[in-house]
């Protein structure tokens, strides 16, 4: 009895937080279904079935997925939400065209079905039609401007195609939508660095450190940027390349990054090998 209530509450927590953890969900769901305990859940049972179904697909437990889907179809014969699950089953079985036709059918009936639309874009990605996925995402974002997930997905798709300027645009939108999220600033900085906009990348790396103390990736970024800028200013000395930051500030920033990195690696219980590697790298830049 105790295990039943904890299983139900664990599943509930996972649903709320959006974590998938398919192994855990499948093992919990298996005991629930085998024990016939789903009947006790009342209306919650259906979302539990949906959750178990998706987890079962994730780990390739087709038998369990089939049981869940059958029960859901029996209860909700015409629901688009269940049809979406059927499409996902087809996707798992690599019947991609059938899945696509199902999604398109649902979207024809209701053009505002957001989960199905997202699933369709994901399907394009699975099929390898990156350009189509990008087009569909652009259309999607034209309607649902404030969907953070979609912007992130679009940015990664652009990066796959090496379209850094477009990816930077997406990341700017993400920063607008969630200005305090240091992860977006970091990603933006990295894209800028890759597209050789070093002064701006440096500023963004600094922003990451400001939002999140001693973020190692950003510290490395500052180190690299300042190194490049200092070298460029000594050779060309044109302010256009270095931006408006004076060389003194740059060298102090460089020192700061070195100091923080050494500090971070001295605190963590890391092996001597890693410490040596870091020290050697720091000397080079």
């Amino acid at each position: 009895m105790h295990s039943y209530s904890t299983a139900v509450s664990t599943l509930h927590e996972l649903r709320k937080s959006g974590e998938r953890k398919p192994d855990l969900v499948v093992s919990l769901g298996q005991t629930l279904i085998d024990g016939g305990l789903t009947r006790k859940l009342g209306d919650e049972a259906w979302s539990v079935y949906e959750q178990i179904f998706i987890a079962a697909l994730d780990v390739g437990r087709d038998d369990l997925a089939k049981t869940c889907l059958e029960r859901l179809e029996k209860r909700f014969p015409d629901s688009p939400r269940v049809e979406l699950l059927l499409g996902m089953k087809y996707e798992a079985e690599k019947k991609l065209d059938q899945a696509l036709s199902i999604y398109e059918k649902i979207l024809n009936e209701d053009e505002t079905n957001m989960p199905v639309e997202k699933r369709k874009i994901a399907l394009y990605k699975t099929m390898g039609h990156n350009q189509e996925a990008i087009n569909a995402l652009v259309r999607f974002l034209d309607v649902y401007y404030n969907d953070v997930e979609a912007w992130l997905e679009l940015a990664s798709l652009y990066l796959r195609q090496h379209l850094y300027q477009q990816a930077a645009f997406c990341l700017e939108e993400l920063i607008l939508l969630q200005p305090q999220n240091h992860f977006y600033h970091l990603k933006y900085a990295e894209v800028l660095y890759t597209s050789d906009n070093i002064p701006l990348a440096l500023k963004e790396y600094c922003r990451v450190i400001e939002l999140c103390d001693d973020y190692v990736r950003a510290l490395y970024g500052i180190k690299l940027c300042t190194y490049k800028l200092l070298n460029a200013s000594s050779s060309a000395s044109s302010s256009k390349i270095t931006g408006n930051t004076d060389s003194h500030t740059l060298s102090v920033l460089n020192e700061l990054a070195t100091e923080r990195l050494l500090h971070v690696y001295s605190h963590k219980k890391c092996s001597k090998v890693i410490k040596d590697v870091v020290r050697e790298w720091l000397q080079n830049y």
């Binding site: 209701d110 649902y144 200005p179 500030t249 700061l256």
Partner: protein, 296 residues
């Protein structure tokens, strides 16, 4: 001292048949009608209507402007200004409007099918409320007018007479006696907890909430569709007036101060330098804005 004496002298004896055939039936009928009304509204209202994707796009586009205005300082100046230009142009041309053709036509709720539907919905609900209640009131008035049904077990002031003895026009009768019509009203207003017990929260058996909604309708005009063209024009103006002060302008300095690599005072000196520059740029911006207004 006359009050208890009066009450004692008016020791009426009610026929138990009144209790069995009038008092309980009225309560029962009202409860049943409430349940019926709940079911009818469920039938009539059906599933809530979903907005079309164009309508969603319209609202999200407006949000976009607001977000750009509030958090624009977090992105670089070039990124901000390009977004500003694109959005203001889009707002001006009405690219995001549901039907871009009729930008200037005033929105009439009678012609807009969606507004019509919302109004019909309200009508249906009110009808489901008014018709059964009038019938019950007529039934009580016709059969039981002038009946005295119960005696309240506590004393009340004379002011309650109009509330409790509607339909019984006797000036001398004690206030604690309740007439049939008043019993109806007491039920009408007091049955909500019982409906909640029977039908669960958020039921539509009780009509009083709708009545309250109706009385406020004149003020807020629920169901009135918004004129997005007008909203877009205001947003456009707001955007044009928004200056951009980049958060990351002196970020290196801030970082160095944070880690104690540079004293605050040096930063302040630097700040003054920059603020002078900023003032110039703001002035330039104002000049541009003036030019822009002239062009308008």
């Amino acid at each position: 001292m006359s009050q208890p004496a009066l009450a004692e002298s008016q020791a009426l004896y009610l026929d138990p048949a009144i209790r069995d055939w009038v008092l309980f039936p009225i309560v029962l009928v009202m409860v049943l009608v409430g349940i019926l009304r709940h079911q009818i509204t469920l039938l009539l209202s059906g599933s809530p209507k979903k907005p079309t994707s164009k309508a969603i796009r319209e609202t999200k586009a407006l949000q976009r402007g607001v977000i750009l205005r509030t958090y624009g300082n977090n992105i670089p100046p070039t990124a901000f200004s390009s977004r500003k230009t694109i959005l203001t142009q889009a707002y001006e041309r009405g690219v995001y409007l549901k039907n871009p053709g009729q930008t200037n036509a005033p929105v009439n709720p009678m012609t807009d099918p969606q507004g019509m539907e919302i109004m019909m919905e309200g009508m249906k609900k009110n009808m489901a409320m008014i018709i059964p209640q009038t019938i019950i009131m007529g039934w009580i008035n016709f059969f039981f007018s002038g009946f005295v049904l119960i005696k309240l077990p506590f004393p009340l002031t004379v002011r309650f007479k109009t509330m409790l003895q509607r339909g019984v026009e006797t000036p001398d009768m004690d206030v604690t006696w309740v007439s049939s019509l008043s019993w109806y009203f007491l039920n009408l207003f007091g049955l909500r907890p019982i409906y909640t017990l029977l039908l669960g929260e958020d039921n539509s058996a009780d009509g009083m909430r709708d009545m309250a909604a109706m009385s406020t309708m004149g003020v807020t005009q629920t169901g009135q569709p918004q004129d997005f063209n007008k909203l877009f024009q205001t947003e456009k103006e707001n955007l044009q007036l928004t200056p951009h002060e980049w958060e990351l302008d002196r970020i290196e300095n801030r970082l160095l101060v944070k880690y104690g690599k540079r004293a605050e005072s040096i930063g302040d000196v630097k700040k003054e330098d920059v603020t002078d520059k900023e003032k110039e740029s703001v002035l330039e911006g104002k000049g541009k804005r003036k030019k822009g207004q002239k062009r308008d």
